[in-house]
Symmetry: C2
Subunit: 365 residues, 2 copies
Amino acid sequence: MLALTWIVANEVALVKRRVSLVRQRAIASVPRTRSTAAQPVRMEDVARAVRVSSITVSRALNTPDKLAPATLRAVRAAIERLRYVPNLTAGSLASNRSHIVAVVVPTIANSIFAETINGLAQTLSQQGYQLLLGQTQYQVEEEAALVDAFLGRRVDGVVLTGVAHARGVRSRLHRAGIPVVETWDLSARPIDMVVGFSNRAAGQAAGRYLIAKGYQSLAFIGGTDDRSAKRLAGFREVARECGAKEVSAVLLPASSSPADGSAAVAGLLAKKAPRAVFCSNDMLAAGVMFECARRQVDVPDRLAVMGFADLPIALGIEPSLTSVQVHATEMGQRAGELLLRRLAGDAVRERIVDLGFAVVERASA
Amino acid sequence: MLALTWIVANEVALVKRRVSLVRQRAIASVPRTRSTAAQPVRMEDVARAVRVSSITVSRALNTPDKLAPATLRAVRAAIERLRYVPNLTAGSLASNRSHIVAVVVPTIANSIFAETINGLAQTLSQQGYQLLLGQTQYQVEEEAALVDAFLGRRVDGVVLTGVAHARGVRSRLHRAGIPVVETWDLSARPIDMVVGFSNRAAGQAAGRYLIAKGYQSLAFIGGTDDRSAKRLAGFREVARECGAKEVSAVLLPASSSPADGSAAVAGLLAKKAPRAVFCSNDMLAAGVMFECARRQVDVPDRLAVMGFADLPIALGIEPSLTSVQVHATEMGQRAGELLLRRLAGDAVRERIVDLGFAVVERASA
DNA sequence: TTGTATGCGTTATCAG
DNA sequence: CTGATAACGCATACAA
């Protein structure tokens, strides 16, 4: 039986080779089906040109040090000459490594997440990893669909925003057994790893800062998402502890434009106006300040404004904006580093990375 | 010979099947190699559970209408029960369709490109396509490396920013024979398709607008990239034609932050100050206006400011910013539609889509 | 409506 | 340092 099998395999190999030759000739002579058909150059074609086996070509690509210099040169020349483009899809299937990392953010239109993605991309690209982008547009349920699709693609890792996830996301990621990094928040029980800061503590810090400045009547403008809610919660805690008045809050779904900030503060000013307002996003804060300029409400003398994230506009705007700095780019970089270490097989001890935040005092509050 | 081949194939199949069974048992009993190994559930496992062939499972996933309702139900139940996650990598290899589209932008930190990506993602996701993200950080040479990597992944389509590309990009994309959409500019000879607007015409329009407003002494603040250069060229053309003074220009590499705008206008004001300044980006324009506020230079009475892109901040800022609107989101949507049509096999007649632009008059100029 | 045979282009494994 | 062989998991083409 064994012998038979062996012969059989050989026969098949012969047949295969003949088929392969036919296929090759067809490609060379027949006019291409469409305008410019896909490149039919495979690893084997390169191998044939150099009279080596295809595994040698594979090694020239992946582990060049393991080849004799002459062989390497010859293979590389052939690759160049034939314009061979390795099929990474096939490689992924065979090696069970896609070299793709998926990242899920609410939206890249909010440039603060764009910064994190920048840091991530920068770190990952150094090791040849690429980024598959998913946006939920603040629709939490979208996250599940995105994660499913990503797992189907057998991404090597996943980066999520926040620690509150759609149903099933946690278990599915867990089952997949790939490294996962949650960002932009902290959790005592991360899916796998988390790098971020405490949104609640950031809200508390903002509250303490404003109260220390003597502002007693506080307001909050922010989003309806989990992280913004945590900031509000922290903010309110401190206000309560310090005996400040009840914090009025305006919550806008998926908002990060100045226009939203303007509209929100307009509503706030119409009632009993607060003395200081903490915005969950610098763009909202900018909108608040623009509206104040229009209404000749002096900032900070009549209304103090504090932002969040410390975007470039915080430093640029007049008066400059007091804000909470959160290391968005570094968050992406650290997330990338954690993933890379795990993908390299190294154990990661520090699974919870608190990057902290910093209240940056400027002119607006 | 034919008969022999046939027998041979059958024998191999038998051998294979036995191997397969062995493998299966091994998976079931042997402790998994790592902590939580990847899911070993394959299409065949689902098929076996339902007592159908694996192609039936494949059809349940891809063409459910072609199955008997009862079969479909059974397969779906098994998929659920076994938590089967289809391996799209294997599917891609077999079908030669990755269902991935790559997009290359200078940076998503500039939210205007984020808008385009949003439009693109939105359109593509409707058909199950996903987005591989590449950023050049305004380093033109990066584009070539990104495109190479993307082609290696056998992406189904590519979206590029601009029409000026790194060496070899054009030919490589052409050879790949996949649909390509260039955006954010126009070209009479696109790689494949292009959807955007004429940056030169936009610069001209800005120039005409400012001159019609009576401003004779003009300046320009922008980037060093190709599109910004074209806007400047158009701007200067009009200035020359209309007998305005020579346009002084400040060109900053890869800039889109208010701080850059502030610094640039500071330099401009130090010399013989212009009467109006056209900024290649609304964030730069915002920085200009912030600096003017600090220096008590009235906008528009002493310095008129015009922006570009019509970001949300243009409407929000005080005074509101006159800008050139460019339909960034729609650009992404149209790019996505063009790709989808081509990927569906439809011919695309309109390979050059001019979305135009619009000067939006507001208070700053 | 369902199944069989085959190949997609690469890498892992083991042998030399 | 190089090679033979067998997967990787699915979809296409055709047959029934």
